[in-house]
């Protein structure tokens, strides 16, 4: 029982990080059919942003970095969308490979700029310690994820931009003929989705070191969240991220770290037997 309680915050914070990463993916994937393998490198960019800000702001770097990393990663996403991805709409598998090439280049760039060894970002003093078994840094990540989800929800449902984004996601052609500039919406989606990856990167500096391959550790699991949650579904992403985070941490605890991923994989395949299209999908009669 004690072990169960101890694992809980770890599982939830893994889930929170996965959620921050997967939110961006589920929208770019759901809306544009783009599988962005460079998303992991936007995470890395966010983490390095916090690292660089350290020189200026000292231990407040993590807080200051949140908005800055959002903008940095968002801009990188926007550039990627404008220069490359927009030529690939409707060819999801090709974007996967294209963005993988981009991700290779970005990783090597990070190695050349910051060196191959990992670097450390100092967390603010008030994030050290915790309540009982719950460390403050994990609590912080959890709250950050909650706030982000609330923000995304409000954006989608309470702003005109957000509603247009949903419209494009559900029916691109119809949205276009209704006078929505789908190109702009795509750019915005990509900016926000990539920006969220930057935020996730900052959060990751609280629980581990930063290196050029930081993103690669999380990107596969984040994609699994998208698959299990259902395309473009906010609620699906939340539930799937929480589930996957907890599953990861308990599988690791009850078997060992090396078997955990195999167990997670098996659970996902089993889950797809029941819900092949993920948790939440609109039932449609179109022959895809």
């Amino acid at each position: 029982m004690e072990a169960f309680v101890n694992q809980l915050p770890i599982g939830i914070s893994i889930g929170a990080v996965l959620l921050l990463i997967a939110l961006g993916l589920t929208f770019t994937f759901g809306q544009m059919g783009v599988i962005n393998m460079a998303h992991g490198e936007f995470i890395m960019a966010g983490a390095y942003t916090a690292y660089l800000l350290q020189d200026l702001t000292g231990r407040m770097a993590v807080i200051v970095a949140l908005p800055v990393a959002f903008a940095v990663a968002g801009l990188m996403g926007l550039i990627l969308e404008r220069t490359a991805i927009r030529h690939f709409y409707g060819r999801p598998l090709d974007t996967l490979l294209l963005t993988w090439g981009v991700s290779l280049v970005l990783q090597q760039l990070a190695r050349d700029l910051f060196g191959a060894p990992n670097v450390q970002v100092q967390a603010p003093a008030w994030l050290q310690g915790g309540i009982g078994t719950l460390p403050y840094n994990r609590l912080f990540i959890f709250v950050l994820a909650l706030l982000t989800v609330a923000g995304v929800w409000a954006y989608l449902n309470r702003t005109g931009q957000g509603r247009r984004m949903q419209a494009v996601m559900q029916n691109r052609g119809l949205a276009a003929v209704s006078g929505i500039d789908t190109g702009r919406v795509d750019q915005r989606t990509f900016f926000i989705g990539s920006g969220l990856a930057g935020v996730a990167g900052v959060a990751l500096t609280l629980i581990g070191p930063v290196g050029p391959t930081l993103g690669t550790y999380y990107i596969v699991d984040a994609f699994l969240v998208v698959v299990a949650g259902g395309l473009g579904s906010l609620l699906g992403a939340v539930v799937a991220a929480a589930g996957l985070g907890l599953l990861n941490s308990y599988a690791e605890f009850w078997s060992d770290a090396s078997l955990a991923k195999v167990i997670v994989f098996a659970v996902i395949v089993a889950f797809l037997q029941v819900r092949p299209q993920g948790l939440f999908v609109l039932r449609s009669r179109a022959l895809s």
């Binding site: 690939f88 490979l97 090439g101 990783q107 090597q108 190695r111 195999v262 994989f265 797809l272």
Partner: protein, 375 residues
């Protein structure tokens, strides 16, 4: 006119014969042992690429986890070689005596008894059978589960990638069983022959080239058969195929299993050729690299897949020899360029160049093409 069409029909087999002669006769004579070994390695990758060409190019299944099958084949072979070696060197083998001899790395990591998983691999027939059967079995089970539920496209790609990631973590974690990060290495002999010997390596090269040739011909036969047409139909309209009375899940599973079996075979050949099998050779990145190679060569033609694997393998070796870090930039950039400008790869470029050339010549001097091709 008839001569032209006949010649055009002969062009494929003609190129195949020339390439086969180059690979089987000229290369072993002309290349020094080190280079021949490298070529053998590229040809192993080409076998994996052939499978990717079938599954992805023909069948539309983007598999990002071929490293898993490559690894299963490689480890099956590696385990067998390790066991043979351990039993031939009784002094350094089992420390406790009595039971079967232990491979060196197990002794180092304090394993005292040969794990039950290892024991049957002492039998060469079992090991060789597992090289193909293991990957085929796993691909079949996964394929049936996933394809029957109509999980496809990007979803399938993501799943296979997750499988590759999980497999590597498993291999690294089970140190005592798999050799961990180091994998299996220090192989000295293969079926009684000294692996360090040049003639053994040359023989191995020829075996690899022959296997690739035979698999290529088999894959071509498959592509040109009714089943191959069905596969293309499944790729372009899976839902429509159901209404022709076929189960696309079965078609896809068969092809996925074939590609997995090819990767397994390639892994098994890779082990004696290169002398190591380790997690770093079969994770997410190496799996993707081979997909990239297929895309560069031309995914819609089997020959493109093979060509791409050899070209990219060669490029990787020669560039990382000179500027190690530059390779990642180059690979990334090359890849972005190919995907953007030439989605059909080198083979596609060659085909459009040939067409452009023919179109320029035909109206002006209609006979010249015929003359040239006969000459």
């Amino acid at each position: 006119m008839n001569a032209v069409t006949n010649l055009a029909r002969l062009r494929g087999p003609g190129i195949f014969a020339v390439v086969a002669a180059l690979a089987l006769v000229v290369a072993p004579l002309a290349l020094e042992p080190f280079r021949l070994g490298l070529l053998a390695k590229y040809l192993c990758f080409a076998i994996v690429a052939l499978g990717i060409g079938l599954a992805w190019g023909q069948g539309g299944m983007l598999t990002l986890g071929q490293g898993v099958f490559f690894g299963l084949g490689g480890y099956a072979m590696g385990m067998h070689l390790k066991l043979v070696e351990a039993s031939s060197l009784p002094s350094s083998g089992s420390s406790s005596g009595g039971g079967p001899a232990l491979p060196d790395f197990m002794v180092w990591s304090g394993v005292e008894e040969l794990p039950a998983l290892w024991a049957p691999f002492a039998d060469p027939v079992f090991a060789l059978a597992m090289v193909v059967a293991g990957p085929v079995l796993i691909a079949t089970v996964l394929g049936l589960l996933v394809f029957r539920q109509r999980v496809r496209g990007a979803y399938f790609a993501i799943l296979t990638q997750a499988l590759a990631a999980a497999f590597v973590i498993l291999l690294v974690g089970q140190q005592g069983l798999t050799g961990g990060t180091n994998g299996l290495t220090n192989f000295f002999e293969l079926f009684g022959r000294d692996l360090a010997d040049d003639s053994t390596q040359r023989g191995l090269y020829i075996v690899v080239a022959l296997v690739l040739g035979v698999l290529y011909l088999g894959a071509r036969q498959l592509v040109n058969s009714r089943f191959g047409r069905l596969l293309v139909a499944v790729r372009d309209g899976e839902d429509r195929v159901r209404f022709l009375g076929y189960d696309p899940a079965v078609v896809k599973t068969i092809v996925f299993a074939i590609s997995a079996g090819m990767a397994g075979l390639a892994g098994a050949l890779f082990v004696p050729v290169v002398g190591i099998i380790s997690p770093a050779l079969l994770g997410v990145v190496p799996s993707l690299e081979l997909v990239v190679a297929v895309a560069v060569g031309g995914r819609f033609a089997l020959a493109g897949a093979v060509l791409g694997a050899v070209v990219m393998g060669y490029a990787k070796t020669s560039f990382s020899e000179q500027f190690a870090d530059g390779w990642l930039y180059l690979q990334g950039a090359l890849f972005i360029l190919v995907m953007t400008l030439a989605p059909k790869g080198l083979v596609g470029l060659a085909a459009s160049a040939r067409e452009a050339l023919a179109a320029r010549r035909r109206p002006a001097v209609p006979a010249s093409r015929t003359v040239k091709e006969i000459a």
